[in-house]
């Protein structure tokens, strides 16, 4: 009787849980100064192997990367949502103003289900900027934080140079326990991008469940957990202090 039994595993195809990693890169004209845009491209390329190493240690998580550039307007760059194993950092060019609001609005479209799979882990969003917004970022950010995925995303920011608007970056992070990372030199930028590519990715990959209605100390990834391991910016100050666009 039991010889012909079909005991195929129920439920169809099974796969690792997706984790979306979004880079929001400021490509305004001021990023041309001191070779910042080139430093950003180099730092991102250098961070990739470290990111892949962390991803390898978390085989039940599939990291998917997207890059969004913003200057005058905003646009996704590259071939769309790409598994980390196949991801290549696109060579970003700088020029124009700092339409952060446009970038956040575009990001918000992706932080909804669909296209975001319901079973995805909380996404990581890293904002890299050297200036201050030139459009209405405030409304866009407010709308982003109304979205469940926007609210629960791990939001981090890297301030490139002295003129990056820290208040805006803090507002973007919206977590008093997490400060913007400082990158005042190409080396520091590389260090910070490596840090967000590894420590933040590893934290987001861990199954640390939090309660939705409780206080700050039970957030899904405690800010303390991130901020305690912040890399030091170091003494180098290569990016100058002239006003950014």
């Amino acid at each position: 009787m039991t010889d012909n039994l079909d005991l195929t595993r129920p439920g169809g195809v099974v796969s690792a849980r997706p984790l979306y990693f979004f880079w929001l890169a400021d490509c305004s004209g001021s990023m041309l100064r001191d070779g910042r845009i080139q430093a950003l491209n180099n730092a991102a390329a250098e961070a990739l192997p470290h990111m892949r190493r962390v991803a390898k240690d978390n085989p039940n998580v599939e990291v998917i990367v997207r890059v969004l550039r913003f200057s005058t307007g905003a646009a996704w760059v590259g071939e769309g949502a790409t598994p980390l194993a196949r991801f290549v950092w696109p060579a970003l060019q700088a020029g124009g103003v700092t339409d952060l609001g446009s970038a956040i609005r575009l990001l918000s479209e992706d932080l909804q289900s669909p296209p975001m799979p319901k079973r995805a882990l909380s996404p990581v969003v890293v904002l890299l900027s050297d200036g201050r917004p030139t459009d209405d970022y405030d409304t866009a950010l407010h709308d982003l934080l109304q979205l469940p995925w926007g609210q629960h995303a791990v939001r981090l920011a890297v301030a490139i140079g002295r003129d990056a608007d820290r208040d805006v970056l803090r507002q973007f992070i919206s977590d008093p326990n997490v400060a913007p990372l400082e990158a005042n030199s190409p080396e520091a930028l590389a260090r910070q991008m490596r840090w967000v590519s590894t420590v933040a990715l590893d934290a987001a990959s861990s199954p640390r469940v939090g309660m939705v209605t409780e206080s700050e100390h039970v957030r899904s990834i405690p800010g303390r957990m991130l901020s305690e391991s912040y890399p030091s910016d170091g003494p180098e100050i290569w990016f100058d202090d002239e006003p950014a666009t």
């Binding site: 039994l5 439920g11 169809g12 796969s15 690792a16 309660m211 939705v212 409780e214 899904s220």
Partner: protein, 319 residues
């Protein structure tokens, strides 16, 4: 792993159209093995040989660092749930027709939330936090202020009494019911707050309000199988309706090969599903109506009591 079954060996009472039985299993996830964490899920089944009632519960202790006793919290949750289900049955005097599912579905969440909290408080009195636990939490101050967070867990429960079924859930995980024609029913409304790794919790002060519950009154058509699972299993499927498809596949398998074969294979399925999927602990429990499998009663509809519950056609739900 735990797995047990009951109510399968006796003849049905002569006037009973339903004969409920249950089994389940729970496995430690690959990620928990890598991180040297215990299985923080729990499952339990209860009923009696009459088959007139049965209940199943699964729970998923939180992975948050504050939840230093998550496995204990999950175990307490399924114990409390089944004790509450047992008491629902006990007051009926063996008469399923006295069961008022609508009332039970309203009251059960409060009873379970209160009793779980009482169990946690008792456990804390018996076993105060050790220094190692406070250190492991990473935030001794927060844990001392809110000690129940150490036991944080989700809970899903299904109770079948005669032709009535009650389902309750706080937190993530999923529950589907499969009808005699293979249609998949989701009796519980979705909770849009459950995003990423965020979940509502029995440990929350709003747990009473965070419960979702509903009841099904089985009409001419039968609910034959109810499947409950923690998110380690549910989130392993690539397709959005993967768990619903799994529910229907399990219904089919029980029909084709019998519950014993399915029970025997369950732990292995959970292990491979989790290791190829989320890597999280995976737990699944099945409540099924044995009498239904012997019946040709295939008509009519299930009366739903939750306005936004969804019913999908059997053909669409298949894997």
């Amino acid at each position: 792993m735990t797995a047990r079954r009951f109510g399968l060996t006796t003849s049905p009472p002569p006037d009973d159209a339903h004969r409920w039985a249950a089994f389940g299993a729970s496995v430690r996830g690959a990620a928990h093995v890598r991180e040297d964490l215990p299985n923080q899920d729990a499952e339990a089944c209860r009923g009696d040989d009459s088959g007139r009632w049965a209940a199943v519960a699964v729970a998923d202790g939180h992975g948050h660092s504050l939840a230093v006793r998550a496995d204990r919290g999950a175990a307490l949750a399924v114990d409390v749930a089944l004790a509450a289900a047992q008491s629902c049955w006990d007051v009926l005097g063996g008469r399923p027709d006295r069961f008022v599912a609508a009332t039970v579905s309203q009251q059960l969440p409060d009873v379970m939330a209160d009793n779980w909290m009482a169990s946690v408080e008792h456990d804390l009195r018996e076993r105060p936090f050790s220094r190692a636990e406070l250190e492991r939490s990473g935030n001794a101050e927060a844990l001392t202020a809110q000690p129940e967070a150490a036991y944080g867990t989700t809970l899903l429960v299904a109770l079948a009494v005669g032709g009535s079924i009650v389902a309750c859930q706080v937190g993530d995980g999923d529950l589907v019911a499969v009808t005699a024609d293979g249609g998949v029913v989701r009796p519980l409304p979705p909770d849009n707050r459950l995003v990423g790794t965020k979940t509502t919790s029995l440990a929350s002060r709003t747990a009473h309000a965070d419960f979702r519950s509903s009841h099904l009154e089985v009409g001419h058509e039968r609910i034959e199988v109810i499947v409950l699972a923690t998110d380690g299993y549910v989130n392993s499927f690539s397709a959005e309706d993967g768990f619903a498809a799994a529910g229907r596949d399990l219904w089919k398998l029980i029909r084709q090969v019998g519950p014993s074969q399915v029970e025997g294979a369950l732990a292995n399925w959970l292990e491979t599903t989790s290791s190829d999927g989320t890597g999280d602990d995976a737990t699944l429990a099945i409540l099924f109506d044995e009498a239904g499998f012997a019946s040709d009663n295939r008509a009519a509809a299930v009366t739903m009591t939750v306005s936004d519950a969804t019913v999908s056609d059997g053909e669409e739900a298949g894997s």
